[in-house]
Point group: C2
Chain length 347, copies 2
Amino acid sequence: MVTMQAVAREAGVSQSTVSHVINRTRAIAPETEAAVWRAIHRTGYVNDSIARSLRTGSTQTVGLAIAAISNPFFAEVVGAIERQVSAMGRTVLLVDTHDDPERELMAVQELVARRCDGILLAPSASPARTFDLLERRNVPTVLVDRFADTGTLAADSVGVHNVEPVAELVDHVAGRGHTRVAFIAGLPGLGTSRERLAGFELGVQRNGLDPDPDLVVVGGSDEQSSYEAASRLLGLADPPSAIVAGNNAMTIGAMRALSDLGLRVPEDVGLVGFDDFPWATLFRPRLTVVAQPLTELGTRAATMLHERIADPSLPAREVRLPATLIVRDSAGHRTPDAGLTEDPSPP
Amino acid sequence: MVTMQAVAREAGVSQSTVSHVINRTRAIAPETEAAVWRAIHRTGYVNDSIARSLRTGSTQTVGLAIAAISNPFFAEVVGAIERQVSAMGRTVLLVDTHDDPERELMAVQELVARRCDGILLAPSASPARTFDLLERRNVPTVLVDRFADTGTLAADSVGVHNVEPVAELVDHVAGRGHTRVAFIAGLPGLGTSRERLAGFELGVQRNGLDPDPDLVVVGGSDEQSSYEAASRLLGLADPPSAIVAGNNAMTIGAMRALSDLGLRVPEDVGLVGFDDFPWATLFRPRLTVVAQPLTELGTRAATMLHERIADPSLPAREVRLPATLIVRDSAGHRTPDAGLTEDPSPP
DNA sequence: CGCGCAACCGTATGCGCAACCGTATGCGCG
DNA sequence: CGCGCATACGGTTGCGCATACGGTTGCGCG
């Protein structure tokens, strides 16, 4: 272990001078500084941030607690977060909550124990105890993607508008002539699930569609349970003519179910969903979806956390980014409507 | 900040007893232990791992240095790594190398400074200085995805076979009747680029295809430069009738180029690539590709690092996982061949 | 020539913890 | 009764660093 002591000995100065050279924290004679740098390079010294952290109380670290890192949706957000956090001089500690309140609590505990300067969290369905911990330990916190009732915890939130975009998805489907439209909802309790369901109900209402409660099923936010939900939907005595799915995995699940049932999209059943896909234009059918600004989501979250770390007394802020409807082919062609974003990619 | 001291005071014992209770590191009288735990819960104490790390010299942390976290390929690997690392009681520190030797060095320096117990690295094209650092600091290292000459650094490597699978890709294309087959190669210097190019050349040779050097172009491993490479290829006086792309992003780039040129796949030009896609079966055309076992890649890498941390004197090991050809439609239908994995998904 | 002040540098301390070492107590046994 | 040993616990140190504080120069100026 090459320590500052060793460098100091090598350079013929005291350990404190080495520290000051490294941190530019007081005036140093040019020759002295040069000697120190030379010694640093000769010895291959790397400043030990563990010791530094213990001393300063700051780890220059940000905790990122999310579920399903392998979901391409989160992947892009994570990428943007890493970029921004690192640009602001910190490092990302990555933990997976697996969308389970218990594991979320443990994950955040881990981050707290590691003295992260702040935490980026995509909260699970029951984040109360996690919020408790965060508040007791005064950890600057920013919620990503999902909104939640933070109680007395002063945390910022960054996400997209969910209600209106899903309603617009329903508008679009209705405009294509569908009247019995179903919704595959996400994991109950999640902010996004709640809001998107509300958006669906708003859309059903304002388009005068069939409000049959049988048309709303819980998809559990993942592909498998959505597959089952869609199968159930299509098994109804009076099945829907179109389906709205609450996120990307559920859209795929529904897609597979339709395919296994020998149903074509959009000829037999319309299918639209929340979340766009990388390379979505290569899909057949080309899915009509609501797309989120993933990169901005990550960047904004990181920036806001940065600000909150700098001033923890900041009032809680809520940022809603726009989610935009991307019209492609999967809702059918019956009544081409106008005024919407048409995807410019090749057929 | 509630420290061990505070807990000790609260419980009426010494700080050292609190430490021993927490770490189960010596016998404690049941009542004493209970009192300590009670004090811990009352005060909301969380063991400070910064201080512990300084003392023990182990951070229970693993550094993960890769490029382009937002690439779905790496996303799945990262997910698997996080799962495995966390299962083995450590936390992941995430840094992005951006595939640039300079930034890679800084990223690894960062990880070393944070005293990671070990490092998982997807090496850039010129990793020599990074390897130097790793060796000087004796950091247990495992290379992921890309193989590289580690010199005197005793690092393990985990990746897939590249040569034979790419050659099989060429076999397949040749079997479909193509004779002028082009290759879009990845960033020069990357182990994967080198090996896949070798695989292509092997395939060209053993199938007696046109060895025209103009048919091999550098795609830079990303979508944009592959787009340009593919455009150049199709602008040739005697253009290829099929293209093999070196990774997923380059396959997409080529796809877009063909599409913009008004060329259909596979009718006008055949296109196959390395790396499968999530939801690849929804693509039209359904791409024939070589798929990597991403989850196993991550899991194995994490496990091997674990073992190397436990015993740093382990000899360097190299693990090659199988990459399997998944035949779909994108190379054309001229001569259906047999004996290969047929993708079972719906047309 | 000597004082003051700036420029430069070293000494010493403590961050919170694990672990070494030492002490106290109780108990069995010769 | 006293020795030896096991059990239970506390005091103390030092991990590597940042930083408060103090010391030592050297130089300008009256």
